[in-house]
Structure formats: C-alpha cells, structure tokens
Symmetry: C2
Subunit: 281 residues, 2 copies
C-alpha cells in the first residue's frame, strides 16, 4: 500500500511524495518521485538520488532543480529517505549516526539492526515498489547521490553493475573506512571487524574487483569536508589502479551545499541519460 502524501504538477510532470510500511526497516518510509509527462503506456528510465547526512527526501526535492531537465530528458527521479524514522527507532546524539544517517548499510549490531536495513531497502524493497506503482523501465536505471548518499550511490552501483548502468556523485564520501564519519557509522552499524566494512566502501569494493563503465564525480574545492571526510583522491587512486574510467571534476569555489549540487545537476542528468538510452515516449 502506497499512500500519496503530496502530488504537485511541475514542469509538466508530477512531483509526488509517498509513504509506505517497509518490510526492511519495519517502519513507515517516505520517498519522493518525479514523473515527467509521457505517452500513455510508456516506460521511462529512472535515476535514483541518495541524500546526505541529516537529509530526508525533501532536501533534493525542494532544492535539487532536477525537474526541468528530467522533463526534457524523460527521466523518472526517485529520492528515498536516509534512514528509518519514528519513536521506536534507535538514535544517536550526533548528526552523523542514527536517524538521518543510515549510510545505506544493513546494520548487524544492536540496537541498530532492528530497523537500520537501508541497503536492503534501497537495493531490493523500494525498486519493487517503484516497478509496481510507476511507469518505470527497470532495465534502465542509474544511481547518484550526495556526500553520504554519494557513498551510497557508489557502493550500491559498484555492487550491482547489471542493475545500474551509470553511477554519479556530488562530493561523495569516497572511503568511509578511512574517514571519521565512516569509521563511526560502519563501526556502529557493523561492529569492529573491518573486513565486514569492505562491501560498504567504494575504494575497497574496487580493490576487491568491483567495476563500472561509467563513473562521474563532481567535487567543490571550497567544501569544508573535502580533506577530512570526502577524500576524492582515494577514489581517483583506486580507479587509476583498476583501470576504471572515472570523470572527476574539481569545481573551484563551490561548497558542500545544494547551491553547488543544483549547479551541476543538469550535467549529471544529461550524462546519465546518454547512458540510459533515449526516452521511449
């Protein structure tokens, strides 16, 4: 059962917000979907957008400036939440762990494991719901994200190359095992055995053999988190070593905000669209 929270006409399409009871997280989950105008019966390629720390679906939905270009290109745009929510859900005092900070991980440690099953939610449960309720061509999916969601897009995309044709990120956490945000989150959700972290670390996944034909990253050079948390040089080195064709754009003067993301959203969506093939409208 999908409950429609909001549906607003925008750029000729419909920006919707939906809610459902999740099997994976055992909570209600909210997500947004933009569906551009399309011919009756048409199936459209889709782009997943995973958000960063403290965000819900709402941040990119309000500030991402993706609807005009998705309308032009005929792309469905999906923005899930970043964690389970609700009174029953465990939380942490920090903004970087617990609610709003699921890290797209299936937690193995209590008290997190009860609800923090975000990998399964994004990789398995939500795609089935999208396929059932929206005019989506599930053979043509791309994935992108910002910061923690950039980490999510990279790791989910690298683990599932036959599902996601292209992967892009704004200011991603490139190696959670090698930064404070990631060490706190992976240690908390998965425990101390760092071997179990490797499938949640883009650089480790590439070291362990994961490949992608299409990787695009934009990173602002005035990003306050650049050197301590994000470390694009680690992804660059891993891709170099593995022979992966990474396009990494370092953007002078840009920060970590949606003012940066919106500036290059069109570039990313056109890049994905070129890899997803023409819209079948």
């Amino acid at each position: 059962m999908l409950e429609t929270i909001a549906a607003n006409k925008s750029f000729g399409g419909v920006q919707g917000v939906y809610k459902h009871a999740s099997d994976a997280t055992k909570t209600a989950m909210t997500f947004s979907v933009f569906v551009p105008a399309h011919a009756k019966g048409a199936k459209l390629p889709l782009v997943w957008y995973l958000s960063g720390l403290t965000c819900s679906h709402a941040n990119v939905t309000e500030k991402g400036e993706y609807r005009k270009i998705c309308s032009e290109l005929g792309l469905i745009f999906i923005a899930p939440d970043t964690s389970p929510r609700g009174e029953d859900v465990a939380d942490d005092d920090g903004y970087d762990f617990g609610k709003g900070a699921g890290f797209y991980v299936d937690a193995a440690q209590e008290p997190w494991a009860a609800h923090f099953q975000m990998r399964r939610y994004i990789e398995t449960e939500l795609p089935a719901i999208i396929a059932d309720h929206f005019p989506a061509d599930m053979k043509r999916q791309a994935i992108m994200g910002h910061s923690m969601g950039g980490h999510g897009a990279l790791t989910i995309g690298l683990r599932n190359p036959s599902t996601y044709r292209s992967i892009s990120a704004f200011s991603p956490i490139c190696s959670p095992a090698q930064c404070p945000w990631g060490e706190k989150a992976l240690g908390g959700y998965l425990g101390d055995d760092r071997a179990s972290w490797r499938e949640y670390d883009a650089c480790a996944l590439i070291e362990d053999g994961a490949r992608s034909d299409a990787l695009l990253v934009d990173q602002g050079l005035d990003d306050q988190f650049l050197t301590e948390q994000l470390k694009p040089e680690l992804l660059e080195a891993a891709c170099d070593k593995a022979g992966i064709n990474l396009t990494l754009n370092r953007r002078e003067g840009y920060d970590h905000s949606y003012y940066f993301i919106a500036s290059f959203m069109e570039d990313h969506l056109r890049w994905h669209a070129a890899r997803l093939g023409p819209a079948a409208r």
Copy 2:
C-alpha cells in the same frame, strides 16, 4: 552597514544573504541577492522578487530555480523579506496578517505603524542599499512576485512606471480590497477608510489612471486560493477597460506552490530580460 549572512557559489555566480538595520522598519531586515558572474566594472539589470504570505527571502532563494537563467541572462535577482521581524514587532494570530504578511504597505494604524513600513522599505530604502553594494544598473529594474508578493509587484510597479520597466506575477492577489486576505490586511494596517486602500490595490490603481506597458501574470487553475482570494478576472477586466496589454496565462493543473512558480520562472525572467535590454557584460 551590510552584514553578510551567507555567500554560496552557484551557477558561476554568488547567492548571498544579507542583513542590515532598516530605517523604514526600525528592525533588522534580511534579504537575498544573486549576482551572476560578470566582467569587472559591469552593471547588471536587476529583478525584484516579492514573496507571499508566511514567506521570508528563503523560500524563493531555495525553491525558485532562478539562478541558472539569471546567470545566462546576466540578471541580478533580489528577494526581500515580507515583513519586519523581532520580539518588538506587533503580530497577529493569523498567518495572513502581521509578521510574514506585511502586504508591502506603509501602515497608518497602531500598533502596526511603528514597524510595518514595507512600501517605503521596498520602494526607497532597499534600492539605495542595492545601488551602493551591488553591481546593479538602477536604470534597468523589473519587479515580480508571488501571491501577496504578486500584489506587491503589481502595485509598486504601477505606482512607479519610470523605475520598473516590466512587472510580472505568479498567482497575484489582484484586488486586495475585494478579497478576505486583503480586506483584513488593508483594514488592519490602514484603517476603515477605503479611499486610502486604493494605492495598494492594482485594480483601483489602474482605474485611477496607473499604466504599464508590460504586465505578465501566470495563474495555476488548480490553485486553492484562485476564486476567493486571487481573482485574476478582476485584473483582466481592469486592464481591458484601461487598454493595458496584460498577458495572463492560465495554467491547467498547477497549484499555488513553488512547484508551479519554478516551472514558469524561466519564462518570466526571459520576458523581463527582453524588456530590460541586453546584459552589459
């Protein structure tokens, strides 16, 4: 003295938020300005955007999707607040009067007159600050707004045709003297003498001889406020009678939200730019 609250690079320009002590309102006032990339020494045409009930500068700044097109066209975009704010400022329990609801009026009634001097603030004080601190060509100004701010744009523009070359609005309150929002606000700020309301009513201003060469209005047909509050047919009738060339676009399926505004922001900005003349970059 202008205090910079935020400055983010976006679409090659700078989205800033600024704060200053206002003479008109006797409070601190916050506004946002987007300045696109430009040659040193260049003066750019500017567009004023007046916001609707409950809004501050932030709503359009985050959701208006104007930066890409302002960058392309070389337009400065200014978003003032909708009322004075602060503990000393009188308020009302309703969302439609008092803070967040200044109606771009110089209040004559107490307790409002002490701070609610929004006409003077927008028409006189803020333009002088903009001229002093930003690369603005004050001979090339346009004004636009949404809902209560559409009313503001129409009335300020109609009263000052030599200042604002073009006027546009999304879902404006077309005749505050003839709708519940406006009757409450004008009655409260100005008192019972309806003659004093006429300079704050676009239709009355036109009846009394105000003219504009360039009026553009977009109105969603699924707007919940359309028939009781906004009444574009009144503006249409006043313009018809006065021989004013109003372009009024009725948009099927669109509501009162920023999802609507963003969809047609580019149209409005291109229309203003055509009337402001080429960017001198």
